[in-house]
C-alpha cells in the first residue's frame, strides 16, 4: 500500500524536486522524523506538535527518538531510507557529520527537511529545506531587548547551554555580536548551566557569591529553564529578580510566561517548538512538486512583561 520508492526517477534537485508524484492521493504519506531526544520540556512540545499534526493529517509518521545521540539519528535516518519513506525530517543534534548519510538519502531520492537547526554539508542540494529559527538571531534579539531596556548599560552574567551544542554556541555568538555595539554593556561572568534548571540555580548562586556578584545588573540565560533556576538563586541571595537584576532568556515556555506575569523574568525570546503544521505543509508541497524556499523561518516573537497577561499564559501550549 505504500508508494514504491521512486528510485528510478532522477534524484530531486534541491528546492525544486523534479520528482513527479503520480502516486494516487489516497496513498498515505510516509514520513520519517528523527528527534534528538527528550532533554527538555521544549523538546517534548516539539515532538508532541509533530506527532499531533501527523495524526491530524493522517500521515504515517515514523518517529525515532535518538536519546541524545547523534549516531542514533544517523542510524534512524538509514533505517528510514531502508523503509523507503516519502520524506525524511530531522532535528540535527550538531551541524557537522551528516554528509555521508544525507548522500545516501539523496541517492535514494528521498527529500530531506531539516528542522530546528541547519547542517553543514558540501552540497546544499543534499537537503531540501530548513524550517526553524535562527539561534544567532535569537541571541541577537535577546541582546537587543536588553540594550533597549537598560539604555545600553548593563553588567551581565551569562548562563550558557551545554558546552559544544549548537544553540549554546549560536546564542552566545548572536548576543555577543549585538552587545558589542554598546560600550556600556559587558559580560563579566559566563558559565555553562547545561540547559538545566538545577544547574542554572547552582551556577547563578556562584555568580552572585563571587566578588563581582554585587555589580551584576542583568542575566542572560540560553534557555528559560536555567533562567527559572537563576530566579530562585537571586531570590535566596536577597535580591529581587526582574528588578535588581534584569533577566532575559530564550524559548518562551509556559513557566517562563508565568514568571513574567509574576514579574521575576523580564523577557523571553520565543523559539517556537510547534513546527508540526509548517513541517507537514512543506512536505506536502515538496511532494506536490512545488518549489519551496531553502529556509523557512518560523513565526516567533519577543515577549516581555508588557505583552504577557494571564490569558496569554493560559493559552501557551508548552
Amino acid at each position: 500500500e505504500r508508494p514504491a520508492a521512486p528510485s528510478s526517477t532522477p534524484a530531486p534537485t534541491a528546492g525544486s524536486p523534479v520528482k513527479p508524484t503520480p502516486a494516487p492521493s489516497a496513498a498515505k504519506l510516509v514520513v520519517g522524523f528523527s528527534q534528538i531526544g527528550a532533554e527538555s520540556a521544549w523538546r517534548s512540545a516539539n515532538t508532541a506538535s509533530i506527532k499531533d499534526e501527523a495524526a491530524r493529517r493522517g500521515v504515517d509518521l515514523k518517529f525515532s527518538d535518538a536519546q541524545g545521540d547523534q549516531e542514533n539519528q544517523v542510524r534512524a535516518i538509514r533505517s528510514f531510507i531502508q523503509q523507503r519513506v516519502d520524506a525524511i525530517a530531522f532535528a540535527p543534534k550538531t551541524e557537522d557529520g551528516w554528509q555521508a548519510v544525507l548522500e545516501e538519502a539523496h541517492k535514494a531520492g528521498i527529500p530531506v527537511i531539516l528542522t530546528d537547526r541547519l547542517v553543514k554539508v558540501d552540497n546544499p542540494d543534499l537537503y531540501t529545506t530548513f524550517i526553524g529559527s535562527d539561534f544567532v538571531e535569537e541571541g541577537r534579539r535577546a541582546a537587543e531587548w536588553l540594550a533597549k531596556a537598560t539604555s545600553g548599560n548593563a553588567v551581565i552574567a551569562e548562563l550558557q547551554g551545554t558546552p559544544g551544542s549548537a544553540p549554546a554556541i549560536d546564542r552566545k555568538k548572536g548576543f555577543e555580536a549585538e552587545i558589542a555595539k554598546h560600550p556600556g554593556m559587558s559580560i563579566i561572568k559566563s558559565q555553562s548551566g547545561n540547559f538545566e534548571r538545577a544547574k542554572g540555580k547552582e551556577v547563578c548562586e556562584a555568580f552572585l557569591r563571587s566578588p563581582e556578584g554585587p555589580k551584576l545588573t542583568a542575566l542572560y540565560a540560553h534557555n528559560d529553564d536555567m533562567a527559572l533556576g537563576a530566579i530562585q538563586a537571586i531570590e535566596s541571595a536577597g535580591r529581587r529578580p526582574g528588578r535588581d537584576i534584569l533577566i532575559v532568556s530564550i524559548d518562551g515556555v509556559r513557566d517562563a510566561f508565568q514568571a513574567m506575569l509574576d514579574g521575576t523574568l523580564n523577557c523571553s525570546v520565543e523559539c517556537n517548538p510547534l513546527l508540526g503544521p509548517q513541517l507537514f505543509d512543506t512536505i506536502e508541497r515538496v511532494k506536490r512538486g512545488e518549489k519551496v524556499p531553502k529556509h523557512i523561518q518560523t513565526e516567533e516573537g519577543v515577549y516581555d512583561q508588557s505583552r504577557v497577561t494571564a490569558e496569554v499564559v493560559k493559552a501557551r501550549r508548552y
Binding site: 505504500r2 520519517g32 528527534q35 531526544g37 527528550a38 523538546r43 517534548s44 515532538t47 506527532k51 509518521l61 515514523k62 518517529f63 525515532s64 527518538d65 536519546q67 541524545g68 545521540d69 547523534q70 549516531e71 542514533n72 544517523v74 542510524r75 534512524a76 538509514r78 533505517s79 528510514f80 531502508q82 523503509q83 523507503r84 550538531t94 551541524e95 557537522d96 557529520g97 551528516w98 554528509q99 555521508a100 548522500e103 553543514k120 558540501d122 551545554t162 558546552p163 559544544g164 551544542s165 549548537a166 554556541i169
Partner: protein, 338 residues
C-alpha cells in the same frame, strides 16, 4: 564435552540465539527489515562501537574497567578532524592519532600498575581529562572534506554476493574482531589476560607478568578507542568534542551482554560482537516500529534488554540442566584413578 568450559561458551551462544530471534521478529513485523541493504547497515552503523568494544573486552577480561572510551573517541575524532582541516592527509592524521591514543591508554595502564590504583579511578580521570582535551582542541564540532575521504566512501565499499555491502568501516571492524579474537585465544598475552582476570594473585604466582600485561591491555584499549574515533570521524567527516558521551556504558553493556563477566576472566571477543549487534538490533527494531515517544523509547529499550538477557539466562540454565541430565543417565563411577 565437559560442563564447565562449555558453560563459558554458553552465554555468547545464547546471545547468538537471541540475536537471531531479534532479527526474526524484525523480519516478521516489518517489510524492509530483512533486506541485504538493511542487514549490511547493522554492522556498519555499529562498526565504531564494536571496535571500541573489542578493546574494552580485553580490559574487562583482565578484571579492569575502562571509562575513558567515549572521551578518547571524541578526542581522537576531533584531533584527526583538526589535523585534516589544517591540511594533513587523513591517513597521516589517523596514524598520529593512533599513536597518541595508544600512548594515552598505556599511560593509564602504567598509572594503574605503578601505584596499584583502581582502574575505575584512573580511567574516570581519563574520561574527564580527555573530554576536556577534546574541547581544548576545538570547542565545537569541525567538519572536514578531503578528496581521500570522499573517495574512500565511494570506492571503498566491498560488494558482496547477495546484495550485501561492506563499507570500509565494516571491513575494518571485521579485521579488528579477527585480530582481537586471535590475540585473546592464540597468544600468550591473551592467555595472560584471561589468567589475570581469573585470579590475579595466582596469575602472579604462575609467572604471568602482571604489570606488563596490564599496561598492554590498556594500551590496546586505547588503540581500539582511537581507531573507533577515527572510524567515526571518517564516517561522519566531522569531529565533535561532545561525541561519544555515554559510549563507555554502551560499550561495557555490549561486552557484558555478550557473556563476558564484569569480574574478569571469562568471556570472548566474539561474544562482544554479538552483544553490540543485540543492542543494535533492539535499536533498529525500535526505529522500524516508529511509533514510540521518547519516554516509551527508553522504556522499550530497557524492557527489551531485560527480556533478552533474562532469556539468555534461561537458555543457559536450561542447557545446564540438559548437560546434567545427560551426565546423570550414566553410571555411578569413580571418575579417575591416580
Amino acid at each position: 564435552m565437559n560442563v564447565l568450559s562449555s558453560q563459558h561458551r554458553l552465554p555468547p551462544l545464547a546471545a547468538g540465539v537471541i540475536l537471531l530471534l531479534l532479527l526474526a521478529i524484525g523480519a516478521l513485523r516489518f517489510d524492509h527489515f530483512l533486506t541485504p541493504a538493511n542487514l549490511s547497515n547493522l554492522p556498519a552503523d555499529y562498526a565504531f562501537v564494536t571496535i571500541a568494544a573489542v578493546g574494552a573486552t580485553f580490559v574487562i577480561l583482565s578484571g579492569g574497567i575502562d571509562l575513558s572510551v567515549g572521551s578518547l573517541v571524541a578526542f581522537t575524532a576531533v584531533l584527526a578532524a583538526h589535523l585534516i582541516a589544517a591540511g594533513w592527509h587523513p591517513l597521516a592524521a589517523a596514524g598520529v592519532c593512533l599513536l597518541i591514543g595508544t600512548t594515552l591508554g598505556a599511560a593509564m595502564g602504567g598509572l594503574i600498575v605503578a601505584f596499584d590504583l583502581p582502574p575505575f579511578m584512573v580511567t574516570l580521570a581519563g574520561m574527564f581529562g580527555l573530554r576536556a582535551a577534546a574541547f581544548l582542541v576545538r570547542d565545537q564540532s569541525v567538519g572536514v572534506s578531503h578528496p581521500f575521504l570522499a573517495a574512500l566512501a565511494r570506492d571503498g565499499v566491498l560488494r558482496l554476493p547477495g546484495g550485501f555491502e561492506a563499507p570500509p568501516r565494516s571491513t575494518l571492524m571485521l579485521a579488528v574482531l579477527l585480530a582481537g579474537w586471535a590475540l585473546a585465544a592464540r597468544t600468550r598475552f591473551g592467555r595472560g589476560v584471561y589468567a589475570l582476570g581469573g585470579h590475579e594473585r595466582s596469575a602472579r604466582m604462575m609467572g604471568v607478568p602482571i604489570g606488563f600485561t596490564k599496561v598492554r591491555v590498556y594500551a590496546l584499549a586505547g588503540a581500539c578507542s582511537t581507531l573507533a574515533g577515527i572510524v567515526l570521524m571518517f564516517d561522519t567527516r566531522s569531529g565533535n568534542p561532545a561525541a561519544g558521551a555515554g559510549l563507555e556504558l554502551a560499550v561495557i553493556a555490549s561486552v557484558v551482554v555478550g557473556g563476558t563477566l564484569l569480574s574478569g576472566g571469562v568471556g570472548s571477543v566474539l561474544g562482544t560482537l554479538i552483544g553490540v549487534l543485540i543492542l543494535g538490533a533492539i535499536r533498529m527494531l525500535i526505529d522500524f516500529e516508529g511509533t514510540l515517544s521518547a519516554a516509551w523509547t527508553s522504556i522499550a529499550t530497557g524492557v527489551l534488554l531485560l527480556t533478552f538477557v533474562a532469556l539468555q539466562r534461561a537458555l543457559i540454565v536450561w542447557a545446564g540442566w540438559r548437560a546434567q541430565a545427560a551426565a546423570a543417565s550414566g553410571t555411578w563411577t569413580r571418575r579417575v584413578e591416580v
